[in-house]
C-alpha cells in the first residue's frame, strides 16, 4: 500500500474554528431556518433555559429587596457610564499604583496587537484562558494563533467548543447544543492531538467527562507561564478586578502563571469596592440561579509572593464609546452578561445562539451587537427585529435594561439609515397599493386576479417566493388568497361561506 502525500494545509496549533466570519451570518430570518430544523438543539435549549429559569425564580424570590437591588444596580451602572472618563482614569491610576501595567485599545485590532506583543515578549508559545466574552468579541484566539501562540480555553464548555471546532451557542453554557455522547467523541478524538489524551475507556457520564477535562487541563495549568482573563467588574476606587466563575479554571489561570493579562471592556468599571455588594448578589442569582457561584476572585494589581508577578490590564473600547453616544442606546452598556434575558426569551429558546451571528446572542445581543458593530451587514440590520417584543427580558434583567424599548429604538435607527440610502422598494409598493385601494373597481379587479392565481398554483399556502416576495415569505408561509373574494361572495347573494368551503375543498389533509 502506498500513501500519497497530500499537500498539507498549514498546521494549526489549536483546533480550527468553523470557516467563515460571524459577520457573514445571513440576516436573522434566514439564519434561524438552519437552526429551527435542528431538533437536538431545540430540545437541549428548551431543557437548559427551562431549568435555569426555574432556579432563577426560586433564588430571586428569596430576597425581599430584589427590586431595590436591581434599582441600585441600574443606578450604579448609570453613574459609571455618565462619568466613565473620570472613573477610567481613577481605575488606571489605582492599577498602576498597585504594580499593574495598563494598556488602552480603541479597537479589536489594537487590543489583539497589544496582547500578542505582551505574550511574545515572554517568549512562550501557549497561554491558558479563562472564559471571557470580550476576548471572543475581538477574536483574540485567532490573532494569537496567527502569531504562533496556542490559546487554550479552560472552561469546560469552552473546551468542548474549541476541541469541537465549533462556536459557543450560549454565553453561560456555551456547549449546550452538544449532548454527552458528542462530548465524549470530541474528547476521544481531539484531546490526544493537543495534550493529554482522554482515557480510552472514557464513558459519556458527565463526571467522567469532567474528569478527563480536569486531567487534560491540569497539565496545561501546571506549565502555563501566561494567563489571559477578562473581568466581570473593575473597581475604579481601588484598582481591583473581579472574576466570577464556577469550575476553578479561572482561579487556576489567575493564580498559577507568572504573567496575567486581563482584557477588560471599559464598561465593566464600577465606582467603589462597596458597589460590589450589589452586583455580587444580582449576578449569580440572575445567571446560574444560584445564591452564589462557586468561586469569585478579586485581585488588585500585583500581590508580592502571591500569584502572577507581572500583571497587565488592557482596557478595550471597540465600539463602546459609540454606544455611549446614544443616550437611549447606552443603557445596553449596563449589561453584566448574566444571560437571564436569553433564558427567558421565546425566540432564543427556539433558535439558539448561533443564529444571532455574534458572540452576544439573545435579546441583549439584538440590541448591543448592532450598536457595537454598526448596522452595515445584513445580520446586524436584522437583529433588532429578532424579537416579538414580549417584554419578558426586561422583567428579568438585573440592571433593568428596557430591552424592548431599545429594540424599537434600534429598529428606528436601522430603518432611518436604510431610508437615507435608497428610496425603499417598500415605499414603491405602498404607493402602488395606495393607488389600487383608492378605487373599489381597481381593488376588485386585483382580487379576482388573485383568486385565479390560486387555481393555477393548486395549493393553499405559499412557501418561499422569489424576491421581492422573499422579504416576507422566507420566514413565514403565506396563505393563498381565497378562490372567491369577500366582495364577490357578497354580490353573489352569499349563500355559503367561501372561506370554509375553500378550506375543506382542498389542501386539508385527512
Amino acid at each position: 500500500m502506498t500513501t500519497i502525500a497530500l499537500p498539507h494545509p498549514t498546521r494549526r496549533l489549536t483546533p480550527a474554528p468553523p470557516a467563515g466570519d460571524l459577520l457573514d451570518t445571513p440576516k436573522f430570518p434566514k439564519s434561524v431556518k438552519r437552526y429551527l430544523g435542528n431538533s437536538q438543539l431545540r430540545a437541549n435549549l428548551r431543557h437548559a433555559t427551562g431549568t435555569i429559569r426555574a432556579k432563577r425564580v426560586r433564588v430571586v424570590s428569596e430576597l425581599p429587596n430584589w427590586e431595590q437591588l436591581r434599582q441600585a444596580g441600574e443606578a450604579i451602572k448609570n453613574r459609571t457610564a455618565r462619568h466613565l472618563d473620570s472613573y477610567l482614569e481613577q481605575l488606571e491610576a489605582n492599577l498602576v499604583a498597585n504594580g499593574a501595567q495598563v494598556h488602552w485599545a480603541s479597537n479589536a485590532r489594537e487590543a489583539n496587537r497589544i496582547v500578542v506583543e505582551l505574550v511574545k515578549a515572554k517568549g512562550v508559545s501557549e497561554v491558558v484562558k479563562v472564559k471571557s466574552m470580550v476576548t471572543q468579541e475581538i477574536e483574540l484566539n485567532e490573532a494569537l494563533e496567527a502569531a504562533g501562540i496556542a490559546a487554550w480555553e479552560t472552561d469546560l464548555a469552552e473546551l468542548i467548543v474549541q476541541l469541537g471546532h465549533d462556536r459557543p451557542s450560549h454565553i453561560l453554557v456555551p456547549a449546550i447544543h452538544r449532548n454527552r455522547s458528542e462530548v465524549r467523541e470530541i474528547f476521544l478524538q481531539e484531546m490526544k492531538l493537543y495534550g493529554r489524551a482522554a482515557p480510552k475507556d472514557l464513558t459519556d457520564n458527565p463526571p467522567d467527562l469532567a474528569g478527563a477535562a480536569r486531567a487534560h487541563l491540569r497539565e496545561k495549568f501546571m506549565r502555563a507561564k501566561v494567563g489571559i482573563s477578562g473581568a466581570n467588574f473593575a473597581v475604579a476606587d481601588n484598582g481591583t478586578l473581579v472574576v466570577v466563575e464556577s469550575e476553578g479554571n479561572g482561579r487556576m489561570c489567575l493564580t498559577l502563571p507568572e504573567t496575567l493579562i486581563s482584557v477588560v471592556g471599559i464598561e465593566k468599571t464600577v465606582p467603589t469596592l462597596e458597589d460590589l455588594e450589589v452586583f455580587l448578589q444580582l449576578l449569580p442569582r440572575s445567571s446560574t440561579g444560584e445564591r452564589m457561584n462557586p468561586y469569585t476572585s478579586m485581585w488588585t494589581g500585583v500581590t508580592p509572593g502571591d500569584g502572577p508577578q507581572e500583571v497587565h490590564v488592557v482596557l478595550v473600547d471597540n465600539g463602546r464609546t459609540k454606544v455611549l453616544a446614544d443616550p437611549i442606546g447606552r443603557q445596553a452598556l449596563r449589561c453584566i452578561r448574566c444571560s437571564a434575558c436569553m433564558n427567558i426569551c421565546p425566540v432564543y429558546e427556539r433558535v439558539g445562539g448561533h443564529a444571532y451571528g455574534s458572540v452576544y446572542p439573545g435579546p441583549i445581543g439584538a440590541i448591543l451587537t448592532p450598536q457595537l458593530r454598526g448596522t452595515a451587514s445584513a445580520i446586524d440590520q436584522s437583529l433588532p427585529f429578532a424579537s416579538s417584543l414580549c417584554g419578558a427580558c426586561a422583567d428579568v434583567c438585573p440592571v433593568r435594561i428596557p430591552i424592548p424599548e431599545l429594540l424599537v429604538h434600534m429598529r428606528h435607527r436601522v430603518v432611518d439609515e436604510r431610508k437615507r440610502k435608497h428610496i425603499g422598494l417598500e415605499r414603491a409598493i405602498m404607493k402602488v397599493g395606495g393607488w389600487i385601494m383608492s378605487r373599489g373597481s381597481r381593488f376588485g379587479a386585483v382580487e379576482e386576479l388573485a383568486g385565479r392565481a390560486r387555481g393555477i398554483l393548486r395549493k393553499d399556502r405559499l412557501g418561499p417566493m422569489p424576491w421581492p416576495g422573499s422579504a416576507w415569505t422566507n420566514a413565514r408561509d403565506l396563505p393563498l388568497p381565497p378562490a372567491q373574494s369577500f366582495r364577490a361572495w357578497w354580490k353573489s347573494g352569499h349563500t355559503d361561506n367561501p372561506f370554509t368551503a375553500n378550506r375543506s375543498g382542498e389542501g386539508a389533509q385527512p
Binding site: H47, A48, T80, A157, E247, L256, I266, E277, G305
Partner: protein
C-alpha cells in the same frame, strides 16, 4: 495615544451630561453594608454550606479543632497536608501524630509539589450565612491563593464570630483587606460545572472536596 483618543470619544459621547459630580448626577438609593434579616446566621451558614455538598463539622471551642482536623483528614483518606506559614500550629499536631505527612508552604512550594499533596488546611476571613460562602483574604493563616486551589481537598476552619448575615456585611468586612491590596477569594462549595447537558458535576478544577470546621 489610544488613551487620549478613547477618553476624548467618551467625553464627546457624554455631551448630555452636565452635572460634573457623579454622586449628585445619579443618586444611588441603597444603604451599604447592612445586615439582612437572618435569625440564626451560624445555623443558616452551616445549612447552606451543606447545600453545596460540602461537609461541615461543628467544634464547641478552639480546643476541639486539632482532633477534628485529624478526624476529617483520616475519614477522607488524606495522606499529606500542606499548611500556610501563619496557621495556628496546634491545629496540626494531632494529624501529624496520626501519620499525615505535613508540609509548610515556607518557603513556597512548587506547583507540582502542591499538585501531589492530598489536602490543604486554611483559616478563613468571613463566612456569609445567606449564601453559604467562605471568603479568604489570603493573610498568613490562609496562605497564598494557589495553596487553597491546587490540592484535591480543602479543610477550612472558621469561627462563628466570623460569620455574617450576607454579602453586604461581608463586603464591609473585606473592603479593608482589599484596600491593603490583599487578594480575596470567595468559595461557595467545591468547584462545579453544569456544562454537559446541565447535569451538575462537583469538583472540576479546584479542590474536589471542601470540609468546613465551624468553631464556637
Amino acid at each position: 495615544m489610544s488613551k487620549s483618543e478613547i477618553l476624548a470619544r467618551i467625553r464627546n459621547s457624554l455631551v448630555d451630561v452636565t452635572q460634573d459630580d457623579p454622586v449628585l448626577d445619579v443618586p444611588v438609593d441603597w444603604s451599604y453594608g447592612q445586615a439582612t434579616a437572618v435569625a440564626e446566621p451560624v445555623q443558616l451558614f452551616i445549612d447552606r454550606v451543606i447545600d453545596y455538598k460540602a461537609t461541615v463539622v461543628r467544634a464547641a471551642d478552639w480546643a476541639e479543632v486539632p482532633g477534628l482536623v485529624a478526624e476529617v483528614l483520616a475519614q477522607a483518606g488524606a495522606t499529606s497536608l500542606v499548611a500556610p506559614a501563619g496557621i495556628e500550629p496546634a491545629w496540626l499536631a494531632q494529624a501529624e501524630a496520626a501519620g499525615i505527612e505535613l508540609e509548610r508552604d515556607d518557603p513556597p512550594l512548587s506547583h507540582q509539589r502542591l499538585n501531589d499533596i492530598s489536602a490543604v488546611i486554611t483559616a478563613a476571613a468571613v463566612g456569609m450565612a445567606e449564601t453559604g460562602t467562605i471568603a479568604l483574604d489570603h493573610r498568613a493563616d490562609q496562605g497564598r491563593r494557589e495553596l487553597s486551589l491546587v490540592p484535591d481537598m480543602h479543610v477550612c476552619v472558621i469561627g462563628t464570630d466570623q460569620i455574617v448575615t450576607d454579602v453586604p456585611q461581608a463586603m464591609a468586612r473585606l473592603a479593608p483587606s482589599l484596600r491593603q491590596h490583599q487578594p480575596v477569594t470567595w468559595i461557595s462549595g467545591p468547584s462545579a460545572t453544569s456544562d454537559i447537558e446541565l447535569s451538575r458535576v462537583e469538583g472540576v478544577h479546584g479542590p474536589r472536596t471542601l470540609h468546613v470546621i465551624v468553631v464556637g
